[in-house]
């Protein structure tokens, strides 16, 4: 039962600081708005009449398909691993997180290379199985294939959310269902899925925004999305203002959907029950065990093993040409910006979730949500908006100090990746009943002490998860780095991409492998935290 919080804490200061920090984060959007004010609507109408309808339909189709595949790849393995006992379960649990370490565009380039006419599969069949080589000789650069590839790259967001949610839903529920004679599947569809809705959506939300901001892979596959429209007006029509208008529109569309979803899901508010220690695992028949292995192995094999083996093979073939001192430089640069930015993001995100707890004000809730929506914008647009911002007031700011500085680069990363940090923290903070705060306040704890003594420790796992996810996401970041970086500053992602777009995939392999390896190490660490988190909550 929820006790109404007695607001002893002065929330005015909290509200003001929330609004202030949020504005610092969304201020680049304001810079875009200045640009929008100058828009020449002729170009907009032109794009609208000729391209945008088509681009929008493509976007919707790609979002739906990618969501479908990432849900399939994410939800089912998470369900079986959370509730069944079978051999290899722990290993599966680790590897299922790992595709997150592979940047989407690398996944796309890698698969198009594997599937291509000169790739290993078709070369092999032409040599040894000519009768089926004709069937395999197809044009694989299709929107549906792209959706599967993006689903493979992005499903871990859903897997992570589901693993936590399914395990926290409580063995109570599962036991109850079992006692009522419900099968594992029935329990899943009738009970678990509906009450995990919020968690699944938080993962899906990240997937959808990744699809919206993707440019490299969609361009390569010849799929024009709304983001292609933004770059059509910027790169091809030299019209930055219309590009800004489209970017702002994209932001508003995402905003509307976000609040619509929140509006509908608030009706289904659900608090996780305290779990029993009982293991809620279903017993399995052999045929069912086989199906489970299959369901887990598909995302593992296609999302991680195949692309990584392909990359490793390329590294070996190009081994003599590797410039190790450059590689070490790039690793250092990548780690540096990723660590600093991820720390900043997590600090802000934690602060905001805490503010949400102690201030029940709508302003705080709305603003702390809005700052995560910038994730839908393509990185290059955020880069552009920051350049516009720091150069808009030449009398006040010497832009020379900012452009090409680490400060601006890290600022941009923080704006863009805020959502990735907020998502796990929000789920964790919301899970704890507000009676904790009330008790704490009644015991005379100051807000700072409340934060330090209660919220920090009980959300520790989520904080580490948020940090790791941000770190990995920033490590893969590309467009912001390209547009805002200082002189002579390269990261692993940038170097990978520059070889890849010049159609030198093998040369890019050592850099992409470094990304995948660093990411994998962090993800294995993350998996352990998640598991501990699940266990602690069960205690």
């Amino acid at each position: 039962m929820e006790i109404k919080s007695n607001n002893i804490i002065n929330t005015k200061g909290v509200n003001i600081s929330t609004v202030f920090i949020s504005l610092v984060i969304v201020v680049p959007l304001v810079a875009l708005l200045f640009s929008v004010l100058r828009v020449d609507f002729d170009n907009f109408y032109y794009l609208w009449n000729n391209l945008l309808v088509d681009y929008s339909l493509n976007t919707i189709y790609l979002v739906l398909l990618t969501s479908f595949f990432s849900l399939i790849f994410g939800i089912f393995p998470a369900w079986f691993i959370s509730t069944s006992k079978f051999k290899g379960k722990n290993l599966y649990d680790i590897i299922l997180y790992l595709p997150l370490a592979i940047p989407t565009y690398i996944m796309a380039f890698t698969y198009s290379d594997i599937l291509s006419y000169t790739g290993p599969i078709q070369s092999f069949t032409r040599k040894y199985m000519p009768e089926i080589s004709n069937i395999l000789n197809q044009d694989y650069l299709q929107i549906e294939i792209l959706a599967i590839i993006m689903g493979l790259a992005l499903y871990p967001y859903i897997y992570t959310a589901c693993r936590i949610s399914f395990s926290l839903v409580g063995s109570n529920y599962v036991d109850l269902c079992r006692n009522l004679g419900m099968s594992q599947m029935k329990t899943f569809f009738r009970i678990i899925l509906p009450i995990s809705r919020v968690a699944i959506f938080s993962g899906l939300f990240l997937v959808i925004m990744e699809v919206l901001n993707e440019y490299g892979a969609v361009k390569y596959f010849g799929v024009n999305t709304f983001t292609s429209g933004i770059f059509r007006s910027w790169y091809s029509m030299q019209d930055v203002d219309t590009a800004s208008l489209l970017a702002v529109s994209l932001f508003i569309i995402v905003l509307i959907f976000f609040f619509l979803e929140r509006f509908t899901s608030s009706k289904y508010k659900f608090n996780y029950l305290v779990n029993t220690n009982q293991k809620s695992e279903f017993s399995l028949t052999n045929s069912r065990r086989l199906i489970i292995h299959l369901i887990c192995l598909i995302p593992i094999v296609f999302g991680f093993l195949i692309p990584v083996l392909f990359i490793i093979n390329n590294v070996i073939s190009e081994f003599s040409g590797i410039n190790f001192s450059k590689l070490i430089d790039l690793i250092f640069n990548t780690l540096l910006v990723s660590i600093v930015s991820a720390l900043i993001i997590v600090m802000i995100a934690v602060l905001f979730q805490f503010f949400r707890k102690i201030s029940k004000s709508r302003i705080v809730i709305v603003f702390s949500d809005i700052i995560s929506l910038t994730y839908a914008l393509p990185g290059a647009v955020i880069g552009l908006s920051l350049i516009l911002l720091v150069t808009s007031f030449p009398q006040l700011i010497n832009s020379n100090i900012f452009i090409g500085s680490f400060f601006l680069l890290i600022y941009a990363y923080s704006i863009r990746h805020m959502a990735v940090g907020i998502s796990p923290l929000k789920t964790s903070f919301e899970k704890h009943p507000s009676s904790y705060d009330d008790t704490g306040t009644n015991l005379g704890l100051t807000p700072f002490k409340l934060f330090k003594k209660i919220h920090l420790p009980i959300n520790k796992s989520a904080i580490i998860i948020a940090f790791l996810l941000c770190f990995i996401d920033i490590m893969k970041e590309l467009p912001i780095t390209l547009i805002l970086r200082p002189f002579n500053f390269d990261t692993l992602a940038v170097q990978t991409y520059q070889y890849a777009i010049e159609e030198m995939i093998p040369k890019s392999a050592v850099y992409s492998l470094s990304i995948v390896m660093i990411g994998s190490i962090l993800l294995i660490f993350l998996k352990n935290i998640v598991n501990k988190y699940i266990d602690v909550s069960k205690g």
Binding site: Y46, N50, L51, S112, S116, Y117, T118, Q122, S123, N137, D139, L141, K219, Y220, F221, G222, N224, S228, F231, R232, W234, Y235, S236, M237, Q238, V240, S317, L336, V340, I344, A380, G383, L384, I387, L388, T391, N398, S399, N400, I403, G404, S405, F406, F407, L408, L409, I410, L482, I483, R485, P486, F487, N488, F489, V494, Q498, I501, E502, E503, K507
Partner: protein, 340 residues
């Protein structure tokens, strides 16, 4: 926490500090080939001038330069598409530069008539055709690619690619917007599939039998033919290179340059000129042709052997600035005629 804050402060300060060393140049470059790093290293060793580079998309670099205004640290702007050089000069981001000792080594038709930029290499956008399914005699001009006989056989990448935009601009400049739109309509109806992939993918698609002819940049064929992978080599060998519009009264094949220009507010102009001098020197030109299969702007430097085997060809003498000036019209035509 304090440690992190300290680290952060150090980072911010390190980003802000301006390098006092005046023996340097700052380049905003769209080129990102390995050969460029070799060139800069050689230049540094020769002159002791440190080369600082930011590599990104040309339009992003243009925006960055434009907004930085007078404070811009950029000395040089390098692109792989002359259209973007024209764009930058049109926006007032470049300064004129003339030096007889540099330009005398360069083919005059490749030079900027307005004097803003200097070409460093050039490439041609050619037609490649399946050795099995197409006879060389069937090919003639770019105009002929709209001919019905190519229905369902033509491969090309997306219209968002700047090499395609440059080609379309050259056709607008030569034929006028109306005829070009007609041409583009014919070309689109000849597509074997929706535009997608890279130039190399078009060649692979010919090898795979998904189409018979493709429009690609010349050096990609060189890259395929020098590949260590047997299958890529086979794909490269499945096609031949054809330079269009070589007939007696025809204008010649479309060419585009990768060029360099001095930024309007260049703080190290003298050093910048030194780099231009170096990149157009015989030594650097030989390094380019040996590594990227591009053509040298110096008529006395021979191309790589692979490229030489395609034979000599007549270049379209069009003022290259047209590839930028006609760009807007070209984009309209792409969109109007459904070239995705």
């Amino acid at each position: 926490m304090k440690k992190y804050l300290l680290l952060l402060t150090v980072l911010i300060l390190s980003g802000c500090s301006q390098n006092e060393n005046s023996k340097e140049i700052n380049i905003y470059s769209q080129r990102h080939y390995d050969v460029d790093e070799i060139q800069y290293q050689n230049f540094e060793e020769k002159t002791g001038i440190k080369v600082n580079v930011i590599k990104a998309n040309a339009d992003e670099l243009i925006q960055r330069m434009k907004n930085e205004g007078e404070d811009s640290p950029a000395d040089l702007f390098i692109t792989v598409d002359v259209g973007k050089l024209w764009q930058a000069s049109d926006m007032g981001l470049l300064q004129k530069f003339e030096d007889e000792s540099i330009t005398k080594n360069i083919s005059p038709e490749l030079l900027d008539k307005k004097g803003y930029w200097i070409p460093v290499t050039y490439r041609s956008r050619v037609v490649v055709y399946s050795k099995d399914r197409v006879k060389k005699e069937e090919l003639s001009t770019y105009e002929d690619l709209a001919n019905k006989k190519w229905r369902g056989r033509l491969l090309v990448r997306s219209s968002s690619n700047s090499y395609n935009q440059a080609l379309m601009s050259s056709i607008v400049a030569n034929l006028g917007a109306e005829d070009t739109a007609e041409w583009s309509k014919g070309v689109v109806s000849n597509f074997a599939r929706d535009p997608k992939g890279s130039d190399r993918d078009q060649v692979k698609a010919i090898a795979a039998g998904q189409g018979d002819i493709a429009i690609v940049n010349s050096y990609y064929i060189g890259l395929l033919l020098s590949s260590e992978k047997e299958e890529e080599l086979n794909a490269g060998n499945a096609v031949s290179v054809f330079f269009p519009n070589q007939g007696e009264n025809e204008r010649g094949a479309h060419v585009n340059v990768s060029g360099i220009a001095i930024a309007k507010n260049s703080p190290n102009k003298e050093n910048a000129i030194e780099l231009i001098r170096y990149l157009t020197s015989d030594e650097a030109q030989k390094t380019y042709v040996g590594n990227t299969f591009e053509f040298s702007v110096n008529p006395n430097i021979e191309p790589d052997d692979i490229v030489k085997a395609w034979g000599e060809f007549k270049k379209d003498p069009l003022d290259l600035n047209m590839l930028g000036e006609k760009r807007a019209e070209a984009i309209l035509i792409f969109d109007k005629t459904g070239w995705k």
